[in-house]
């Protein structure tokens, strides 16, 4: 590896201030998102459904942004958004919805901070994260 490459790698993996909470029930998607976002220098934490995400938020420092799937067991994205918005501090965290579902109107009606359909437009996703982290 050349020095240039090493520098570039160091540049890329330099910690950004942002922590991203990925809430998705699909381990494949979570892992792939984590790979991409860690490459981009973000700190990534994960939860496999809305209930787990709420527990995470209760027990930890607030992440800079939440990436939220909608169709999940136990507590889906709609349930999570309903509770998160009621909460005095959680409600301040920006939420970007990433969904493979067809019902985009129902999601948009909730006016999340951001809304991206799966498969994800990565440039748009990274631009949103840049803005909120």
């Amino acid at each position: 590896m050349t020095d240039d490459q090493r520098n570039a790698m160091a540049e890329a993996t330099r910690r950004r201030p942002g922590t991203v909470l990925v809430v998705d029930d699909d381990p494949g998607v979570v892992e792939a998102l984590e790979t991409l976002l860690v490459d981009e220098g973000y700190h990534v934490v994960t939860a496999c459904h809305g209930r787990a995400a709420l527990s995470y938020l209760t027990e930890n420092e607030a992440p800079s942004v939440i990436l939220l799937d909608m169709m999940m067991p136990i507590m889906d994205g709609y349930g999570f958004l309903a509770e998160q918005r009621q909460h005095p501090t959680f409600s301040r965290i920006p939420v970007v919805v990433l969904t493979a579902g067809a019902n985009s109107n129902r999601v948009r009606a909730l006016s999340p901070t951001g809304f991206l359909s799966k498969p994800v437009d990565v440039d748009a996703l990274l631009a949103l994260l840049e803005e909120y982290c």
Partner: protein
Amino acid sequence: MVAAGVDSGIPAVGTLPWGTHFCQFYDSQRDLADALVPYFLAGIRGNAQCVWVTADPLRAHQARDLLRAAVPDLGALERSGQLEIIDHGDWYLKTGGLKTETLHRMWIERQEIALQNGYSGLRASGNTSFLEVCDWKSFADYEARLTNAFRGNRIVGLCAYSLGRCNSDSVIDVVRSHQFALTRRADQWELIESSSLKIAKEELRQLNEELEERVRQRTAELEEALRMREDFISVASHELKTPLTSLQLYIESLLRAGAKGTCSAGQLAERLTKAKAECGRLEKLVNYLLDFSRALSGQLALTPEEVDLSDVARMTAERFSENLDKAGCALSLRADAPITGTWDRLRVEQVLVNILSNAIKYAPGAPIEVTVTEENGHAVVSVRDHGPGIRPQDQGRIFDRFVQLSPTEHHRGGFGLGLWIVRKIVDAFRGRLDLESEPGAGATFRVTLPRVPVESS
């Protein structure tokens, strides 16, 4: 079929279907005026061409005076041809060449001309006071012919009969040859219907009700099927997009890392391996959809061979151990003796995999027992889970396609086809699929397979 109704103008009669031929028995000029004036006013309002053949005691000039009270510019209506008021004597001169045997055709022709001229149909009335007793029989036949001729045409006809000139026989003839009769008793209009008409109407009403009920049912079924199909498409697109998303994210991450030159050989291999696994997932889903479409058209391919069900259960449990571990389900298998039969090995495996997948999806963290036995010469494999169980009202439908109990709130992945395919495969083997479950007490799926060969369809 001319179905739309028209306003008769007479409150006691109400709306009539086109093609109605009815009669009125009158005592006085007032009886005639009270029925015929509103009858023709409604006809004019409904843009029908109106022909009023008058006779004593209500002659043409009197009819004009009565109508003029409601329609000031009656002359214009008559000149335009929409309204014709004519005394029966003049009418007789006009149509005198026509025998009663052919007279009904004249009405049909007039209706056709009225329709050609843009009218909604033809509304007519005649008074029979000119009839002589000797004409009676042929006139009653003419009336019966009219009833038949009007049917299916845009004509409404009202024939006025003087009660004073009718004997009991002729009253019966008149009522018989019309669909119903209108008469005034104690100042109240009444409708007289022949009993056969009443029965026919009642039958029609019942048939209509039955038909409407059937339409409602069928519509509800279709709506349900449509809703399920929409749910399925939404679930299927979600299921297909999920691995596609992972695949695309790995490719993006590789492209970005490649551009920056930050990807080590190890990382590259690792990510490509994961991307390949996602391709495998996609392929499985697509095959699953293909299977579904084949099963739907009854073309589930079977390759029968000698199979040991106990062995299939052991192998499936082994292959499934990683999924079971992940879900925290301990599987205990009782398959002591070999139980052989002629089945398609892969399909039997698929039955077990689908039932097990269902168990770990709905009863994670609880033990699962699989038992293979022989009962009455049949091979039986049962899968018992200790999950939440299935409510009695859901037990019948969980083998239907696209059914996922509460699919949107608690989506658990999958197409909602697993148990449906199980049922299709078991059906193809001429086997039986039983479910025993109580809410809170887990569920047992029992598959009973005959051991004799099944011809592949």
